[in-house]
Assembly symmetry: C2
Homo-oligomer: 242 residues x 2
């Protein structure tokens, strides 16, 4: 005579000491943003769980006993992009009772910013990882669309008041590229001259004295982000504000 799943769960629960009864499945889900030729993308995976089969899904995993949630998020990033040391920010938890079809799973949402060119998409993941334009995503598995939207909101806010945009561009970039990044991600238009003046007065760019290559018009000068200067000033009344 066999027992069914819910009976089994009851038996297990009876064996578990009191404080264990409050345990819950905890995951992290990563919204990995990349930017590519004027298009904000997010790394998605094809969902292989039942009511959401084939739909776009974010990349996530359980938080292990031996790691913090941050470490779990970093592990996922490393796995998906081959990359350590990338920009990562916690956003919010999602804990609706029935958000996951397999049972109670609470997740903590992170977003991160990577340069698409720098990633080595390890296909050993084998799971149809792909960069999808944020604008093309109308729905996702689970509550992942909601998570994506909130992370995008959070990205936009951070982009305006801290210099994280540089994480999405190559080390050397033109002012035009930087401006376009802001325009695409924030979905606004900026005035070229005003944008440039603002950056000039902030003093956070270094002219690397190189020109854009292989363009059939006047090439733009290239700059890099003055990390040291920014780090030295940021707690000293200096405000990044775009």
């Amino acid at each position: 005579m066999s027992i069914n799943m819910s009976e089994k769960n009851e038996i297990i629960k009876a064996l578990i000491p009191l404080e264990e009864k409050h345990k819950t499945n905890l995951t992290v889900d990563c919204v990995i943003f990349g930017y590519d030729q004027g298009d904000l993308k997010v790394l998605t995976i094809e969902c292989d769980m039942d009511p959401f089969l084939g739909m776009y899904s974010l990349i996530g995993d359980f938080v292990k006993e031996t790691e913090t949630t941050n470490q779990a998020a970093k592990r996922i990033l490393k796995f998906c992009t081959g990359n350590d040391d990338i920009f990562l920010e916690e956003v919010q938890s999602f804990s609706e009772i029935n958000r996951h079809p397999y049972g109670r799973v609470i997740t903590i949402a992170y977003y991160s910013l990577v340069q698409i060119g720098k990633t080595k998409m390890t296909d050993n993941a084998g799971k149809h990882l792909q960069w999808t334009s944020v604008n093309n995503i109308k729905e996702m598995a689970f509550d992942h669309k909601q998570i994506l939207d909130l992370c995008l909101f959070s990205l936009r806010r951070s982009l305006r008041d801290s210099p994280i945009g540089f994480e999405l561009l190559p080390k050397k970039f033109s002012l035009k590229q930087l401006q376009t990044l802001y325009e695409v991600v924030l979905d606004i238009e900026l005035d070229k001259r005003n944008f440039r003046r603002k950056l000039r007065t902030m003093d956070i760019l270094i002219d690397v004295d190189e020109l854009q290559q292989e363009v059939s018009h006047r090439p733009a000068k290239l700059y890099k982000f003055n990390v040291k200067y920014y780090e030295s000033k940021k707690y000293n009344g200096f405000k990044f504000d775009l």
Copy 2:
């Protein structure tokens, strides 16, 4: 023959299905801010756990299987302040492996704002709940000081760009009270005339046509927050910014 605790844990783990192995203890901790006569306070409890015995501690609890983390936070608030429907904001998770002496416990930090006068401190909690001045707290149990600091940082940011300050004041208040709140919480000085002009141009206050009572000098006019006006404008380009 008896078995020890760690053997018992092993036995329990062996019985648990694979996905259960990733389960973790999850709590919420609430930083409950109150404001009282020019002093920002936080609701604390005396810690009754070993290495932190007697130290200030935040108020928290396990997240139950049948509730979201938000609901858990609200339950705690109701329990501590007798109050439903109070301002509540999730801030961040804390998940260092050894943050809790009893084992792995991951927590999600919330902060909330209450009017101290409005709370009915249910003493059935029995646990030495008290309002403690934020400035007087040098250390706390667990990582709670870190949590408090982050929540204070988050409160300050929100105070500047959304009208949450009103949650800390009585319904009717004088402009002076409002200004002092900002000065105390943000730890800055504000110019009286400029502060008042800014509020006037934002149009978010209603003159209730009453005067301060029982003061031995010229009484101030009282105002209330124009919730309706703010709600109708906030998605319409209107920006609260103090």
